[in-house]
Symmetry: C2
Amino acid sequence: MNIANSVLLTDLYQLTMLQTYHAERMQETAVFELFARRLPPERGFLLAAGLEPALNWLENLHFTAGELDWLAGCGRFSPEFLASLAGFRFTGAVHALPEGTAFFADEPILRITAPLPQAQLVESRLINLIHFQTLVATKAARCVLAAPGKLLVDFGMRRAHGAEAALLAARATYVAGFAGTATVLAGMHFGIPLFGTMAHSLVQAHDREEDAFLHFAAAQPGNVTLLLDTYDTEAAARKLVELAPGFQARGIAVRGVRLDSGDIGEHARRVRRILDDGDLRQVTVFGSGDLDEHRIGELLASGAPFDGFGIGTRLDVSTDAPTLDMVYKLQEYAGKPRRKRSEGKATWPGRKQVYRRIVDGAFADDCLGLEDHPRPGEPLLIPVMENGRRLQPPTPLAAIRDRVRAQLAALPPALRANRTTPPYPVHIAPELRELTDRLDREPH
Amino acid sequence: MNIANSVLLTDLYQLTMLQTYHAERMQETAVFELFARRLPPERGFLLAAGLEPALNWLENLHFTAGELDWLAGCGRFSPEFLASLAGFRFTGAVHALPEGTAFFADEPILRITAPLPQAQLVESRLINLIHFQTLVATKAARCVLAAPGKLLVDFGMRRAHGAEAALLAARATYVAGFAGTATVLAGMHFGIPLFGTMAHSLVQAHDREEDAFLHFAAAQPGNVTLLLDTYDTEAAARKLVELAPGFQARGIAVRGVRLDSGDIGEHARRVRRILDDGDLRQVTVFGSGDLDEHRIGELLASGAPFDGFGIGTRLDVSTDAPTLDMVYKLQEYAGKPRRKRSEGKATWPGRKQVYRRIVDGAFADDCLGLEDHPRPGEPLLIPVMENGRRLQPPTPLAAIRDRVRAQLAALPPALRANRTTPPYPVHIAPELRELTDRLDREPH
């Protein structure tokens, strides 16, 4: 079973609500918007990611015969309703921020306009796909901002939350500006460049560390990064210096070394000196081990001579902020704006647009307004799907990377510095406030 | 592509190390153990989960023709090495803690005994599968301990990290003692009971809240839980009381109400009173919204009259501790114990066993020892796979649930209370210390 494409990867209430809509013939056009209610305290901006996988999912959405049979066996659903699902397809429209766009609290990053049952059913998986990729792309962008010019590689597969998280984290970190990933399947699936070094187990399986270095280097002579910290980091660096002439004679070029334990900043300084003194100036120093944007910032600020970093668990899980308060809310049904008024969770109603003012190439402020009441600035939401079909072919990852680079460069400097600062200004358009007040005066 | 079964869901270095092992004919038996180096400060115990999906993955592990073609196109691997992968299967042995066993830092929960390349290659995905399920089962067990006798349901699919995380979180929370999940695919895939209520959007799509209640109830008359907080929670409860006689006349039994925003403890008290005064004593009160074991503990301690809870994001992501320091380390190769000595990351070498002493039905202490030097207590690791085949059919989820119930009952009381306490005693056997000291005196 390919769980990633199954329409049953959803919450039960979506199906019971669809049965209600079917019974009551509630098939008019609904408008839902996906947005973050607030940013985690540790985040000054978010980076929209995951649109292409979401559009791909929408285009292929259907119930298989096996799924319909299983639903029939549940005893929860009427035969007429289940029969209606056999022909279910997503035929709606999608507006979205292009992948790689920076955004802020309350700003829709995706809008679905479709018959109510379709727009309802897609809620759970759309959030699931876009929440995670946005989370990880944002974390990755912070690492990129902390390490300008350094080679950053996603090492997070093993502690990412499951298979799809590992694969999509590789994609999200790559679009955010990473050089690549260690996750092989992401190379096959998305064409993302692959990077890898060696593990402690290879060293341990040899009786002598020198033999491990020699065998590993001989088996991939063009692509050698040696791991130095299995027993004694500096001793291993000196072994490499001793092995170097022999490597050279055999045409083996050691490209780099990896440091993974202890005070890696201090080790980097000592190892760099040993390598330089041993005439191995071209060998790069690569750090790993519980890294994130803060630790990398500290290491670089202290002058530790790193050329790159492998960032794993804290990246793929976004450990300091592992979730976003991202929701998908009904904003209009049957031509009428709708508002949820739950305490602490009220929404801005209607079809909205984000208008961003850019001054001297930098983001000045945003205005959350209504689509049909333009405000100054660039409207960020654009149509990407109509009648259930993409309007453009999938955006190449390289183009998304270019967009991210430009977006990060245009962020206010405090946000680029990964500092906690007063939030970026997002104004609410007066028309939107008026609409909200009007809806609040109506009875329910 | 079914990403969950792909052998290429691994780190690049596994393949480059395999190429080294192939070139050097290093095919002797390796022993790797999977364990948590330390527990997060927020956890007093962990609950082993994910074994069955891991065994299933091991049994089916192979390279497809398409994967081998793609690897050949990478230019990193020799034709001889790639040819050797065509027949790759996992033919090793697995020892493991039964799913649902409580365990502590440094204790192996899985041991792989196999030719070095096989034992090496499986590292990344084994951690990926077992780390996540153990993480979530542990979080779920804490919720179960905080809410004895309450109906707990996994609501986390939308903000779980991707498709597989959502599906496996439903499984992990169910084995830990949850009543079920909202994730439909987990019902189909694992036979887990499904629960669901309704969403705010259904209420919003109606002009009058009463109509939403009526239509939803009429569409699934045997299975109605109404969401009360879209506009005004107590007003909605009073509407339900007014609607009740009409429901009854039509054969509709409202089973429960859900509260999702504001001070849900206070709302629960008020709503309970409204329902009781309205002769709806049988209607249960269900809470949701940013819940975890701490918030549930507070709500119940305050006397809030909840019958159950839907727990979502903080459960499926284990928000307060979203990762474990779980690793997979070489402990023996070619009959010789091996030790990683990296600073702060040194391992206990050799084939180990966990011996647990149980006194008066409660866990007294554990001893981490060597397999061939038994210590007092029950040995916890048992053989589950030989020659790449399971020794028993998959354990039914009901049996794992029974085991969890017994394990939680046998935990020291402070651990059962979800309090931060001195760690559970895990002693190191003297034979293991001696082996370690001996290895440390050897040169590398």
